[in-house]
Symmetry: C2
Subunit: 290 residues, 2 copies
């Protein structure tokens, strides 16, 4: 299984490399490449390919969309790190984009990555006019937008320093993190030609995986170290961020996390059968220590 994931990751990195080859203006492309090749886990594209593969689809069809979703994830990190937003200096053990290239170029590099994601998809759609591509395109746009990831980031920023309840925190998690995970899973399913009933079940699964991923992030922000994590720990507390942990404490969070994980594993077996690559990938992501 590990070998398959390595092969996926190689394909994703080659596709990214192909689609942001340096051009003029050089500094803009350098800034885009700096963050895309800063050691990301490629979790979202890996999920997309694992679902497509587990449903018997051809993973090569995922590649343009895999590169696109990774670029969208990367642009969101660049913009989130800006002084006007979370004001973070480090990300994945390296200086954040604006710390290296300045704020103006970081904003533009983010914009350019978001736009480039759709350039890649447009080219693919012109070359292969099929409904699976259209639905994959649509899932991505909705998940990344004002009613998805961007809306979650806005709600998160607006809630800083405020007392918010469980419903609001779940709203933020669902939009900010789960939306793009769900999209990754749904896109893999659409590209494998899955029907609407299967996609509905996969959407529900994706929401749970996204929530688990975010809770794991929040736990690690407290229990890990800067050396392992590659970014300062306790940043949520410093920024007065509302997280699952800050709201419910570590004990309940750990307990809920275990229940959620068990549900996820069971649902994956139900949908995809035993011994599939998605199961293996999820176990790696949920048990990660960075």
């Amino acid at each position: 299984m590990e070998k398959i994931l390595l092969e996926y990751r190689n394909l994703i990195n080659k596709e990214l490399e192909k689609n942001i080859a340096p051009e003029k203006p050089e500094i803009l492309f350098e800034a885009m490449r700096y963050s895309v090749f800063a050691g990301g886990k490629r979790a979202r594209p890996l999920f997309m390919m694992a679902v497509c593969d587990s449903l018997g689809g051809n993973i090569k069809q995922c590649l343009p969309f895999a590169a696109a979703i990774e670029m969208i994830h990367t642009y969101s990190l660049i913009h989130d790190d800006l002084p006007a937003m979370d004001n973070d200096d480090y990300r994945r053990g390296k200086l954040t984009n604006h710390k290296v290239y300045g704020e103006a170029m970081a904003i533009l590099a983010g914009d350019a990555l978001l736009n480039r994601a759709f350039e890649i998809i447009a080219e693919e759609c012109c070359n292969n006019l099929n409904i699976g591509n259209m639905y994959a395109f649509r899932y991505l746009t909705v998940a990344a937008g004002a009613c998805g990831m961007i809306g979650g980031q806005a709600a998160d920023i607006l809630s800083e320093g405020q007392d918010i309840d469980m419903r609001e925190i779940l709203f933020i998690h669902k939009k900010k993190t789960s939306a793009l995970f769900c999209a990754a899973l749904n896109m893999g399913a659409a590209l494998a030609g899955a029907g609407i009933d299967k996609i509905k079940r996969i959407t529900a699964l994706g929401e749970k995986i996204g929530l688990a991923f975010q809770i794991r992030d929040d736990i690690l922000d407290i229990t890990s170290t800067q050396e392992i994590l590659g970014k300062p720990v306790n940043s949520d507390m410093r920024n007065k961020k509302n997280t699952y942990v800050s709201l419910f404490g570590m004990e309940k969070t750990n307990g809920d996390y275990k229940i959620l994980s068990a549900q996820i594993y069971s649902e994956i077996k139900n949908i995809f059968g035993d011994n599939n690559i998605l199961y293996y990938l999820v176990s790696k992501i949920l048990d990660r220590d960075k």
Copy 2:
């Protein structure tokens, strides 16, 4: 002719209204709507529809793309006005987005408008799977991206306070302004089902119109007043921007502008025949005083 343009503009505004109806988080949508409905000329969508109409296409097919290109234009203004970029306080006689909603929300509102443009297109492509839609989508992505508008803005920022030559200034104009104008024209042609030879001629025309539009902007920045323009004049000089005027002086700029305009009018007649809506629209845009 004026009545036709009014009808176009009404259709564009309705399409925009439909596609950014207020949702949660309210402030994000308010910020998006603030700039989209701040009195823009709708020049790019009007060009798209005028070309489609002049080629015998159905302008209704343009509407999702018309809303999309206007949103992309609007997001670029929001981000360009940010303190880290051009640092402008006024735009179209109103406070700029970040002056009203703060920097974080202005960055997110811009991101959300760029993303929403592609949400609209994705929905349209799912509903109407045809090659004209795909090409219109592709023209837009390339023109708006790192090798188009964003690249032009990056080059513009990098050139501030530097001595640059005519070639470089034309590169910036071509990318920053012409690219999106060209795309508007090409999209209208693709949506009307035009062939590749016609589109090539329209691309060349679009580049000229875009350049003329930008030169007119630079002239008005010097010769107009804040009352008429709705934003401070002489901002290029203050920001040490390289413009056609700063490089060649007002006399040569005016002369070149006249020659360029004459070429544009003649080429429109050649491609689209006499007495068409595009000719009328171009004359209004090129002779504008704000």
